[in-house]
C-alpha cells in the first residue's frame, strides 16, 4: 500500500515538472529582433476575437512589416479592470481595447494618454468621424481614444409574431405591418402581444424594459440627458428622467414584479449568445439591441433570417428584407416630434500611460480607422461605422440588411453617447440599481432618483474638489522645484 502511495506521489511530482517545462506560453510567431512588439489587450473572444485577429494579421503583414511593428492580440475577460490594475502596477499593455464608458474615468485618473497630436498627424480629425462618436472619444478638451467598432441602439421587432396577431392588433387600432412610432404606441403593441400562462407566468413578453442592456440611458428617449456639462450637474431628478423610470415601472404594474423577475432569471443577460436567447425563440417580441444582433441570429437561429429562400437566393427577392421575420426601426421616443433617438456606444482603443511605444501603438489604432479596414472589421462584427464617409459596398454587402437604419441613427442629431463624467462606473451602478428597485421592488421612482441624484452629485463634486486640490498641489511642487 505504501509503495502505491509513493508511486502516485512520484507521478504527481513528475507531472508538475512536466508542466513547468512544457507549459510555457508558446509563441508560434517568429518576430525579428528589431521589431517593436505591441501588446494589445482586448475583450473579444470567440468569433469576434477571431475577426479582430484577422485585422491584426492584416496589419502585421502590411504596415507592421513596413514599420517594424508587431501587434500581439490578447483576449481577456474584465479587460477594463485588469488594464486599470496593470496601469497602477506600472506594467500596462500598449493598447487597451475597452469601451466608451472608460474614456472619461481613465482620462480623469491620468490612466490613458491624450492622442490629439498623433491623430492629426495621421489625418484623423473631427471631420473624419460622426459627431456622436468623436465627442465620446474626447474628455476635457482632449482626445483620449479612438473607435474600433461602434454601435447604435434600435428597436428590433418580430414581424412574424406581429402578423400572426394582426387581427388583435388591428382591433386595437394598431397596424401590424409597421413598427410602433411612439413609445406609448409601443406599450400598446407590447400589451397585446404579451401572453400569460398559469400563475401569472409570462410566456411571451411583448417588451420588457429590464431586459434591455441600456436601462441607464432610458431617459434619452424622453428627451432628457443624464448630465449637463454646462452646469456640471446630474439631471436624475428632472421631471422627464423621473417619467422615464415611471415608464419602466409601468411594466411591472401591468405584469407584476414577480413574473418579470422570474422571466428575467429564466432568460438572464448571459444567455444572449445561446439559442435560448428569448428574441430568437419568439419569447420576447420587441427588444432594444445593437447591429450585431443580425450576426447572432444568423449563427443561432438562421431560420429567422431565411424565411422564404436560402441566403444566396436573396437577391431574387424584391427586397432582401422580405426574407426576414424580424426587422429594425428607430426605438420610439416618448416625446412627440423627437425622432431618431439612439444611444450610441462604441468599443474604444486607448493607450495607457506608462507604455514605451506610444507612436507604434498608435500606428495600429490609425490603421483600424482607415476606411477600408474599418469597414472590413465592422462588416465582420456586423456593426455600423464611425466614419462620416461610407462606401456603397458597405451598405450593400453588409450582413445586416438594416444597417442603413443604424447608420442613420448614428448620424442623427438626437444620437447620444455616454455622458463625459469621470465617475461613470458609480453612475451606471446607481442607475442600474434604480431600474431594478423601481421594476422589481416597487420603489417610488421620484424617491429613488432623488436619492441617487444627491449621492452622485456629491460624489462628482467631491471628485472635482479633490482634482482641483491635487492640481494646486502639483503646481506648488512644480514652482518649488523651479525655484531650486
Amino acid at each position: 500500500m505504501i509503495w502505491v502511495k509513493r508511486i502516485i506521489f512520484a507521478l504527481l511530482i513528475l507531472c508538475g515538472i512536466a508542466f513547468v517545462i512544457y507549459g510555457a506560453p508558446r509563441r508560434d510567431d517568429k518576430i525579428p529582433a528589431d521589431f517593436v512588439v505591441i501588446r494589445y489587450w482586448e475583450k473579444w473572444t470567440g468569433n469576434e476575437g477571431a475577426q479582430m485577429q484577422q485585422i491584426v494579421d492584416d496589419f502585421n503583414r502590411t504596415v507592421g512589416r513596413e514599420k517594424k511593428i508587431f501587434v500581439r492580440y490578447m483576449s481577456m475577460s474584465n479587460v477594463d479592470k485588469k488594464t486599470l490594475v496593470a496601469i497602477s502596477a506600472g506594467v500596462p499593455p500598449d493598447i487597451a481595447g475597452m469601451w466608451d464608458q472608460q474614456v472619461a474615468q481613465f482620462a480623469a485618473l491620468g490612466a490613458i494618454e491624450p492622442l490629439d497630436e498623433l491623430a492629426t498627424a495621421h489625418g484623423i480629425t473631427e471631420q473624419t468621424y460622426t459627431p456622436v462618436y468623436w465627442n465620446g472619444c474626447r474628455y476635457d478638451g482632449k482626445l483620449y481614444a479612438l473607435v474600433s467598432t461602434p454601435a447604435a441602439i434600435a428597436l428590433h421587432y418580430n414581424r412574424k409574431v406581429f402578423s400572426e396577431n394582426a387581427a388583435a392588433l388591428r382591433a386595437a387600432g394598431l397596424d401590424p405591418d409597421r413598427p410602433p412610432r411612439t413609445l406609448e404606441e409601443m406599450d400598446r403593441y407590447a400589451e397585446i402581444l404579451t401572453k400569460r400562462g398559469p400563475f401569472g407566468r409570462i410566456d411571451r413578453a411583448g417588451y420588457l424594459p429590464l431586459q434591455s442592456w441600456y436601462v441607464p440611458f432610458t431617459s434619452y428617449w424622453f428627451g432628457q440627458e443624464i448630465f449637463d456639462p454646462k452646469t456640471q450637474k446630474f439631471q436624475l431628478d428632472a421631471p422627464q428622467f423621473i417619467r422615464a423610470f415611471e415608464w419602466i415601472q409601468s411594466y411591472s404594474r401591468k405584469m407584476g414584479a414577480k413574473p418579470i423577475q422570474d422571466f428575467i432569471s429564466a432568460h438572464p443577460q448571459d444567455n444572449f449568445d445561446t439559442p435560448q436567447n428569448p428574441f430568437l425563440t419568439d419569447t420576447l417580441i420587441m427588444q432594444q439591441q445593437g447591429p450585431w444582433q443580425a450576426n447572432y441570429i444568423d449563427h443561432l437561429n438562421p431560420s429567422m433570417s431565411r424565411v422564404l429562400v436560402p441566403k444566396d437566393q436573396e437577391p431574387t427577392l424584391p427586397r432582401r428584407t422580405d426574407n426576414y421575420s424580424w426587422a429594425v426601426a428607430p426605438f420610439p421616443s416618448a416625446v412627440p416630434g423627437l425622432e431618431d433617438v439612439s444611444f450610441c456606444s462604441f468599443d474604444a482603443l486607448m493607450i495607457p500611460t506608462g507604455t514605451k511605444h506610444k507612436n507604434e501603438a498608435f500606428e495600429f489604432i490609425a490603421y483600424v480607422n482607415r476606411q477600408n479596414v474599418c469597414e472590413k472589421l465592422n462588416m465582420l462584427h456586423c456593426k455600423n461605422t464611425q466614419l462620416r464617409s461610407v462606401s456603397r459596398n458597405f451598405i450593400a454587402k453588409h450582413p445586416n440588411p438594416y444597417i442603413d437604419v443604424f447608420q442613420k441613427l448614428a448620424a442623427s442629431p438626437n444620437a447620444r453617447g455616454v455622458p463625459p463624467v469621470p465617475i461613470w462606473p458609480q453612475v451606471a451602478k446607481e442607475l442600474n440599481d434604480a431600474g431594478q428597485a423601481v421594476a422589481l421592488e416597487n420603489a417610488d421612482p421620484r424617491e429613488v432618483l432623488t436619492r441617487a441624484q444627491a449621492r452622485l452629485q456629491a460624489e462628482y463634486d467631491r471628485f472635482r474638489a479633490i482634482d482641483l486640490k491635487r492640481r494646486e498641489q502639483q503646481q506648488q511642487q512644480h514652482q518649488l522645484a523651479q525655484r531650486k
Partner: protein, 293 residues
C-alpha cells in the same frame, strides 16, 4: 537582564527574524499606510498621483453612505444565517461521526472533501446547480412536483449562499472530532453512573469539555464570514440589486473599479474594527460558557 537572558533574547529574535521582518514589511507597514490612506484621496494610477489629504472626509462620507450600510447589513444577515448553520451542522456531524460506528474514515473523508475544492470551482459548480432552467436543484424539485425556485433572486440569494457555505464545513468537523477525542471517558462514565441519559451527558459533560474548541471555531468563523469575497464575486457579482453585495466586495470595487483607494482603506479599517469588536465580544462572552481544563 542576565547574560543568559540576553543571549536567549538574541537567539530568539534571530530565529524569529523572518517573521519579524515579514510582519514589519507585509503587515505592520501596510496597516499603518492603510490608516494614512484612509484619511486621503488616492488613486494609484500613475506614480505622480500623490495622495491628497482630506482629513476625516472619507469617514464622514462612509457614515452617510447608503451602500455602506446596506453592504454591512447584508454581511451581518449572511453571518446570522451562515454562522449558526455552520456551527450546528459541523457539531452535529462531529457528534455523529464520534459514535462508535464502522466506516468512520470514509464518512470523514467524504465530509472533508468539499472543503478542499477551490473557491472558484465551487462557486461555478453551485452557480450551475442554482441555474433556474438547467440547474440540478430546480430539476430535482420539479421531479418531486414542487415548482422550481429562483435561487439567486433578491430574496433567496443570501440563504442560498449560506446553504453553500454549509457544504464546506469539513475542516471544522475534523477539529471538533479531535476535540471530542479528548473528552475524558471517566467523566462520561461517571455521569452515566449518576443517571444522566445521553442527552444529559451531551449537555453537561461533552459540550462543556468541547467549549474551547467551539470557541476557537466560532472566532475563526466570524473572521471568515466577514471577509467573504471570492464566492459572491464569481457567482452573483453582488446582485441582484445588491442582495449579495458583501462588505468586502464593496471594498474591492471601491479600490479596483472606482480606484478610490483612500475610501477603500477607510472601509477596510472599519471592517477591521468591527471584526475586532466581535472577537472581543466573543472573548468576553467566553468567560460565561468556555471551560478550560
Amino acid at each position: 537582564m542576565t547574560r543568559e537572558q540576553r543571549r536567549n533574547l538574541l537567539k530568539g529574535l534571530a530565529f524569529c527574524s523572518p517573521w519579524l521582518l515579514g510582519f514589519l514589511l507585509f503587515t505592520a507597514l501596510p496597516i499603518a499606510l492603510s490608516l494614512y490612506y484612509s484619511f486621503c484621496d488616492y488613486a494609484l494610477t500613475a506614480p505622480d498621483r500623490a495622495p491628497v489629504w482630506v482629513g476625516i472626509a472619507n469617514y464622514r462620507q462612509l457614515w452617510g453612505d447608503e451602500l455602506f450600510w446596506k453592504a454591512l447589513g447584508t454581511t451581518f444577515r449572511y453571518a446570522a444565517m451562515a454562522l449558526p448553520a455552520g456551527v450546528l451542522v459541523s457539531l452535529g456531524l462531529a457528534l455523529m461521526l464520534n459514535a462508535n460506528i464502522r466506516g468512520q474514515t470514509i464518512y470523514r473523508a467524504v465530509i472533508f472533501l468539499p472543503s478542499l475544492v477551490p473557491a472558484t470551482a465551487a462557486a461555478m459548480l453551485w452557480l450551475w446547480m442554482f441555474n433556474g432552467r438547467f440547474g440540478l436543484f430546480n430539476n430535482l424539485l420539479e421531479r418531486l412536483g414542487v415548482g422550481g425556485l429562483n435561487w439567486l433572486s433578491t430574496d433567496l440569494a443570501l440563504p442560498s449562499l449560506a446553504l453553500m457555505s454549509v457544504w464546506g464545513v469539513g475542516n471544522t468537523v475534523v477539529i471538533y472530532l479531535a476535540g471530542l477525542q479528548d473528552v475524558p471517558r471517566e467523566l462520561l462514565e461517571a455521569a452515566e453512573i449518576d443517571g444522566a441519559d445521553r442527552f444529559g451527558r451531551l449537555v453537561h459533560v461533552t459540550l462543556p469539555m468541547l467549549s474551547p474548541v467551539i470557541f476557537f471555531n466560532l472566532v475563526m468563523a466570524i473572521i471568515g464570514t466577514f471577509s467573504v469575497l471570492t464566492v459572491p464575486y464569481i457567482m452573483t457579482r453582488g446582485g441582484p440589486n445588491n442582495a449579495t453585495y458583501f462588505y468586502t466586495m464593496y471594498g474591492y470595487d471601491t479600490a479596483f473599479t472606482y480606484l478610490r483607494m483612500g475610501y477603500a482603506s477607510a472601509l477596510a479599517w472599519v471592517q477591521l474594527l468591527i471584526i475586532m469588536a466581535l472577537t472581543a465580544l466573543a472573548f468576553w462572552s467566553a468567560r460565561k460558557w468556555v471551560h478550560y481544563v
